[in-house]
Symmetry: C2
Subunit: 342 residues, 2 copies
């Protein structure tokens, strides 16, 4: 029995509400991280990720590391680009700035194409930028939870393949994997990174990535060693290959209980940034929504943080027909807006 | 209700057996990582770590990150030493080699003092090395789980303070915090790093550190930026300070469910490396022990891996009087050794 009864419904863009089965799996007894039971779970999870990301290419390589989604950025920045090389960052909100900072930490030159808030860089701008210099990677935030902007990954990748075919396309799918369409092979993507606590429906603490053969080759053919130890592909690749082949292996201890939860994954739909009426700020409405038992998130993008709230609608909150989280949320939003207008 | 009934008893040097309360806490309903309930838990956990590490100095700074214990090495190597500076690594087994590799990834020159297997570097050797050149950090593995060797942290630190007072003393306490004495202030330590899944008694997935004021100053006064993004003190310090002060804050999503488990922590005693009789190797005894419902670990240190097994005795397996894990383990070891000798 989980202790789920009677709690405010969490409707933020992750962490989200948990399925009972997910919580139950987390309370499984202690297991060795190199014992046959866990090796099987870990191996199967890696194989299932191929399905989740829609890739059948044998060269595609899944990774699951103990860490936040942010660790996936270090993984990209320390393995797939070298000091002094160029990265093109498509900026659709908060996460463009922080991803640039991460790339620069490991020595890359990050150039951002910044769209006006609530918008996204145009395909023409992207094409023009790619013609100007050689970019080793292009990064794009699939769903920027600070603005609710959805990027068109398929169209962007088509532009990259036409103008600069060797540029790696890196998709930050933290808030999109499991709730937005991502066709890894068909769209010819190189990296999609995500985390367990969004539409996958697990607690936070797992960094999850899929890399293409092209990305794996880039990592393999570096002229300098990986710039991170904990996030090094060189250190993790044999571990992932061994576990998927059913063999135990050790580099750093995996987050065993969280990985049990991943086996129970759900898939659902994303998040919405809700613009408030001119006279209102998040503190006017969030406490009232909380009184009705609902946890929404405040604004995250600093230039507009006081003007909107964020509503995550993922996982069991939308997929479990026995729950009425979304109906309650919409009703509560209506009531609260009616109340504050008085 | 946890699903603990009927499972092989895990007696490896981490992950270990879980207390029901720990598992129960992991199955708590979804919560926002910036909501008041979680902020309180996270803040209290940081304050409790001061007690666990025995530090009352206001300048001491605890950190809890989503990641394996190994991430703590990146934290040290990317924040407390700069490219081209020297680190002295006391080698008592497997973890000395890998910690050196981590330091070198971020540009430090790592010099190891290697003891014969099963032994530790002498205080004289350490003193002599510290006189030869300027070492910015000295690292020591408190309990090396590949050999079972226990280092004398107090005595080593006294040597450092006498010969090279500004050298930071970094203790890898992954398998010692919670089961071996560590007096952070009294011994004048600079960094003790650990993980949740050893004597603290939680599932794996949390990297836990305590830094001294001296270590924090070193990080603050770097001439180059931190060499990691995800493990950057600069990125995490405001988060830890805010949570401990009861204020939500965001850099990367914390592992909420694992942190709930940390609040339930246990403390106990370490691990033993058991040398096998000449004619036996781990595959001769581990399957037989498993048939009796007990999971021991194989050898880890590559030069002696075939000659010993590892027995973790931590957490509820030793502290819960209702459990007889250790009695069962000792009886099973006796039976199996008697059996294989026939």
């Amino acid at each position: 029995m989980s202790t789920q009864a009677q709690h405010p419904t969490v409707l933020i863009p992750g962490p989200i509400e948990f399925d009972d089965a997910v919580l139950q799996s987390m309370s499984t007894y202690g297991e060795s991280h190199v014992g046959p039971a866990f090796v099987k779970i870990f191996g199967e999870t890696l194989t299932m990720l191929r399905q989740l990301f829609q890739t059948k290419a044998a060269a595609s390589q899944p990774f699951v590391l103990a860490g936040s989604g942010t660790l996936g950025w270090d993984f990209v920045a320390s393995n797939l680009i070298e000091r002094g090389e160029n990265a093109l960052v498509l900026h659709t909100g908060y996460f463009g700035d922080s991803l640039s900072a991460c790339l620069q930490t490991y020595g890359a030159n990050a150039t951002q194409i910044k769209a006006p808030i609530g918008d996204r860089p145009s395909l023409e701008e992207i094409s023009k930028a790619l013609q100007e210099k050689e970019y080793k990677v292009l990064t794009v935030t699939h769903v920027d939870t600070s603005t609710g902007v959805l990027s068109d990954i398929k169209a962007i990748t088509e532009v990259v393949r036409k103008v600069s075919p060797n540029t790696l396309v890196v998709v930050d799918g933290v808030c999109s994997v499991g709730c937005e369409e991502i066709a890894f092979d068909e769209w010819d993507l190189d990296v999609v990174l995500t985390a367990g606590q969004k539409a996958i429906g697990c607690p936070p603490g797992l960094s999850i990535l899929m890399l293409s053969g092209r990305a794996m080759d880039r990592a393999k053919n570096r002229t300098t060693p990986p710039a991170s130890y904990y996030a090094s592909i060189q250190n993790w690749l044999p571990i992932m290959q061994n576990y998927e082949a059913g063999k135990p292996s050790y580099f750093a201890t995996p987050a065993t209980q969280l990985q049990l939860a991943t086996k129970e994954e759900n898939q659902a739909n994303a998040m919405t940034a809700i613009r408030l009426p001119e006279s209102l700020t998040p503190p006017d409405v969030l406490p009232k929504l909380f009184q009705k038992g609902l946890v929404f998130a405040g604004g995250l993008h600093k230039e507009i943080a006081s003007k909107y709230i964020r509503f995550g609608h993922m996982g069991v909150s939308v997929t479990d027909p026995k729950r009425d989280d979304i109906d309650k949320a919409i009703a509560a939003l209506k009531e609260v807006f009616a109340e504050v207008k008085k």
